[in-house]
């Protein structure tokens, strides 16, 4: 029988939640790396026993932890993330220029084909790649040194590269998202990059449809229809049908189109999920009711999913990397909250159960579907 392994990164350690294919009884293990912020934990699609964790902290900096046995044991591998060449400067909150400085890894994206190859998105925004299982890291500097780089300025959470999409047809094709610069595309393995933000409108920046400067929160893509991308932006839920070259709005009848995560159903590229929150200054669910919204038609029309989710006095948030799906026949969907709950739905969102509810604030949720 298939199993699922849910990998949870939190403000104070990582947790591994496991269940069989029924997904009704859960084993909770952790905290791993207690006391450290774990921005992301994820597994290699090529070898599900190969896991990577981004461990960071204000005192002692960045570590990358690796497990080769499905999370039973871990060891720190490489932690040297150095911007290549003369790093230069980017814009700071006050409009001044500030030197690029590595702070932490927000997101790890293992290659679908090679367990030793993994990409890392960092703050300040840059893309790194390791070809030796995380032991050594090399920046792909064409992104950070794009001519628009000096104009990138951080969003409220920092100037982070938080989303990395690898094209299942061709790993040379990369799409990344940076807060608050926008989406960038490379078709040559990360050597050269172009902004990929046409159609995004951001009121509040000097030029609302500028080539760069958009606060993109998260991207999602379904492997069976890789040219369709979905985006949760600072405001607006967006869709692209041409691999990110142009975008259009699909917010439709959402109660608010501000939010952080966006996910696609494992078996249906037209079923997409978001978690609306009230506004950019009220990062809580509208009316204190935690609702995931699902569109079965690729956007525009959305239905609230509430069964099993708190419908009063709920003021948690769901961060950009904190939602994921499994790939069992009846697709499971999972998300973690800043209140420390991890909710699971084994039926594509119809019903929800908290599978653990008193963790530290959840930063990331990833799911592995195991044989």
């Amino acid at each position: 029988m298939s199993r699922v392994r849910v990998l949870v990164g939190t403000r104070k350690g990582a947790f591994v939640l496991t269940a069989d294919g029924r997904r009704d009884e859960w084993h909770v293990e952790g905290p791993l790396f207690g006391g450290w912020e774990i921005y992301h934990v994820t597994g290699s699609p090529a070898d599900p026993d190969r896991l990577y964790a981004s461990q960071s902290g204000g005192w002692f900096g960045q570590q990358i932890q690796r497990s080769d046995d499905g999370g039973a044991t871990w060891r720190p591998v490489g932690n040297e993330f150095t911007y290549l060449g003369e790093p230069g400067t980017h814009q700071w909150y006050d409009g001044s220029q500030r030197p690029w400085e590595f702070t932490r890894v927000w997101h790890l994206e293992p290659s679908p084909a090679d367990p030793d190859r993994v990409y890392a998105g960092s703050e300040d925004a840059a893309l790194f790649r390791s070809d030796d299982g995380g032991v050594t890291w090399r920046e792909l500097p064409g992104l950070r040194t794009h001519e628009s780089g000096p104009s990138w300025q951080p969003g409220a959470g920092g100037m982070c590269l938080h989303t990395i999409l690898l094209d299942p047809r061709d790993e040379q094709r990369l799409r990344v998202a940076i807060s608050a610069a926008g989406v960038f595309a490379s078709d040559d393995g990360g050597t050269s990059w172009t902004p990929s933000n046409k159609g995004l409108i951001s009121e509040g920046i000097p030029d609302p449809d500028a080539e760069v400067g958009h606060c993109v929160h998260n991207l999602a893509r379904h492997p069976d229809r890789p040219d369709t991308l979905y985006m949760q932006k600072h405001w607006h839920v967006m869709r692209s049908d041409d691999d990110g070259r142009t975008w259009y709005k699909i917010s439709g009848d959402l109660p608010t189109d501000f939010g952080f995560p966006i996910e696609v159903h494992a078996h249906d590229p037209d079923t997409v999920y978001v978690v609306p929150i009230t506004s950019d200054y009220l990062h809580v669910p509208p009316d204190g009711r935690l609702r995931v919204y699902r569109s079965r038609g690729g956007g525009h029309e959305w239905e609230p999913l509430t069964n099993g989710l708190p419908q009063k006095h709920c003021y948690v948030n769901v961060l950009r990397d904190a939602m994921a799906t499994d790939s069992l026949d009846d697709c499971g969907i999972y998300f973690g909250t800043t209140g420390g709950q991890v909710y699971a739905s084994p039926d594509a969102g119809d019903t929800w159960t908290p599978i653990v509810r008193d963790l530290p604030p959840v930063l990331s949720v990833e799911v592995q579907t195991l044989p």
């Binding site: 450290w36 002692f60 900096g61 570590q63």
Partner: protein, 98 residues
Amino acid sequence: MIRVTLPPHLRALARVDGEVALDVAEPVTLGSVLEALEIDYPVLRGAIRDHRTKRRRAFVRFFACEEDLSHQPPDTPLPTAVASGAEPLLIIGAMAGG
């Protein structure tokens, strides 16, 4: 032998209990002790000071013999009691929120 006390997070990272003992050639300085520490425990590279610049991480402090050595240049000789192994060099994660 030079004795070094690490904060709990770094003891966990280096997988050590209690103090660390290091062989350090004369002259025993803050820099030479950190160099020896990172050679014996490579996982600590980058955790105490920057990989390239060797600049101390902002929330790390160095104490010995009731002195704060955090702002001393790396070639500053450590107190005789540390160089003789009578007292440890304390590496501390500075008190801060969170």
